[in-house]
Amino acid sequence: MSFKFSEENLQKINKSIAKYPYKKSAVMDALYIGQEQNGYITEEVMQEIAKILEIPLTDVLGVATFYTMYHKKPVGKYHLQVCTNVSCMLRGGVELLKQLKDELKIEEGEVTPDGLFSIEEVECMGACGGAPMMSVNYEYKENLTPEKLKVIINELRNNSK
């Protein structure tokens, strides 16, 4: 399966390249753009980036595997990330994660059969003042309670109908 960046995304990459004295620096932006277009990072995406930035494929692979925000396999339409680090843990983050798993009947790193949700347990997202929290595609939902979580999940389900 081959992968080609869309015209619009190519422009975005060029805009990123212009920020730096060396093309290589745009690799992180390019991976984000590739992920947005393709849903997740594949070897084809990385090859395309390597070609555009004129760097070896291994350099792109090295970056893609080092940073946790690049998905190496498909995620759900709504990627749910729950923080269980100390501040959230003290205020019920771990229970929240369990509730979410029970509700969606999937484990961490899995996608629901309808492709709607995926769950990830994450490290501190910098929302300790609003603990416990969850991020829905990087939209922060703070000060959660079991009831609020239910409402959010139902809303997301209805939105996609």
Partner: protein, 442 residues
């Protein structure tokens, strides 16, 4: 008790017009009439210290930058903010981005940099958009970029870009941050050479924290003397305290340095739910040594006071834990974090954090012995100071100091002697005469 320099309580201050109405972009005008060295001297005199953890003198850091060397200089702004318990820079991105931009301009002028990169963690997608909007507005008004020449009538101009991180705590370490901007894995570099000599792409570079830089316009506007009289003389100014955990009103509060920790917890953050006692407080983000609840009385929030109390200010992310908290679980979670975030370059950190996590799992599951507590301290001591960057120390300190300071508490979770089932069959048969090839593992 609150005092506002970094986060003034002005409605819609994030909008450029409101910022200008309130005296915005006046400090850069004033700075441009001074010589770069005078700006550095002024910041040095103010006593401003870095707000990102190490607390190094900002003016002194700037003065390390070479002069008239003909090379490009760079300024990196550290907005990676990933330390558990730290969530202060986000407030600046949201409520006062223009003061940050103005601070960057002044700093760039002082260190003779023409390019600056604001490194913001990728999870802050919405806040990146907010800063980008502010930046676009500032460009349009001619406060940033080549248009500065016209606006201010000087030869100096500088460009500011945002570099979006992608979820790696280690990129908050200054040399890893530079590698990340260069498009590499976020591996910390061996120091020396220091960034002022060999930084971004090998050129002289200064790295400052978001909050530090946001203080700079106020210092230039009101003078070093004014700033140096706020709070504690050894660590002047205000700090953004992000308080979380078991308190009634968690959030970010700006207070002068030297404010009593108990005042922050009880007066600003509304005390502990159900009036429970405090067992433990981590005063500066998860890597800083914890303090016992019975030692909080009279403790002040500033670098020197906390150092005397055996901890450190770090990023001023205060985490409060009440009397019912199971510290073994807290410590396990902290250690899991550092194990997860270790970049893997140095063996003591890469392996040690994993070992500590394994032993702490035993402790949290009540399957450990007293000896395990000593083992943990021993492993921590063997990580500390033996790694390229400070992540090793950051992983070791909580383990070492929490066990030392809460030994009574941890001994409740362990028994004198516990027989552990060894799951590794080969290991348990080491002294038998059966050849390995004949051992069948179900």
């Amino acid at each position: 008790m609150e005092y506002n320099i970094v986060l003034p309580k002005i409605k819609d201050l994030h909008l450029i017009d409101v910022y200008i109405q309130n005296g915005g972009y006046e400090a850069i005008k004033k700075a441009l009439q001074m010589s770069p060295d005078d700006v550095i001297e002024e910041v040095k005199k103010s006593g401003l210290r870095g707000r990102g953890g190490a607390g190094f003198s900002t003016g002194l850091k700037w003065s390390f930058m070479p002069k008239n060397d003909g090379k490009p200089h760079y300024l990196c702004i550290n907005g990676d903010e990933s330390e558990p318990g730290s969530f202060k820079d986000r407030q600046i991105f949201e409520y006062n981005p223009h003061q940050l931009i103005e601070g960057i301009l002044i700093a760039c002028y002082a260190i003779r940099a023409q390019k600056s990169y604001i490194y913001i963690r990728g999870e802050y997608r919405n806040w990146i958009q907010m800063v980008q909007k502010a930046l676009d507005d500032a460009y349009e008004k001619g406060f940033v970029g080549e248009k500065m020449k016209e606006t201010f009538g000087t030869e100096f101009y500088c460009d500011i870009y945002i570099h979006k991180g992608a979820g790696a705590y280690i990129c908050g370490e200054e040399s890893a941050l530079m590698n990340s901007i260069e498009g590499k894995r976020g591996y910390p570099r061996v120091k020396p050479p220091f960034p002022a000599q060999y930084g971004l792409w090998g050129y002289p570079t200064t790295i400052n924290n978001v909050e530090t830089i946001t203080n700079v316009p106020a210092i230039i506007k009101n003078g070093a003397e004014w700033f140096s009289k706020i709070g504690e003389p050894t660590h002047p100014g205000t700090i953004l305290v992000g308080i979380s955990g078991h308190v009634n009103k968690p959030g970010v509060y700006e207070v002068p340095t030297g404010t009593l920790l108990t005042d922050i917890i009880y007066k600003l953050a509304g005390g502990v739910p159900n009036n429970k006692k405090i067992k433990c407080v981590i005063p500066g983000g998860s890597s800083m040594p914890p303090i016992r609840g019975d030692q909080l009385e009279g403790l002040k929030m500033d670098a020197e006071s906390l150092k005397k109390a055996g901890s450190a200010i770090g990023t001023a992310g205060v985490m409060v834990m009440d009397e019912d908290t199971n510290l073994s679980k807290v410590l396990l979670r902290i250690t899991h974090f550092y194990h997860h975030e270790s970049c893997g370059q140095c063996t003591p950190c890469r392996e040690g954090t994993g070992w500590m996590e394994k032993v702490l799992k035993r402790v949290a599951n009540k399957k450990a012995t007293k000896k395990d507590l000593d083992l943990l301290v021993d492993v921590a001591n063997n990580i500390e100071g033996r790694t390229i960057c400070a992540l090793g120390d950051a992983a070791a300190w909580p383990v070492k100091f929490m066990i030392e300071r809460f030994r009574d508490d941890f001994e409740k979770y362990v028994s004198e002697e516990v027989v552990i089932n060894v799951p590794n069959k080969v290991h348990s048969m080491r002294n038998t005469v059966i050849p390995l090839s004949e051992i069948k593992i179900k």
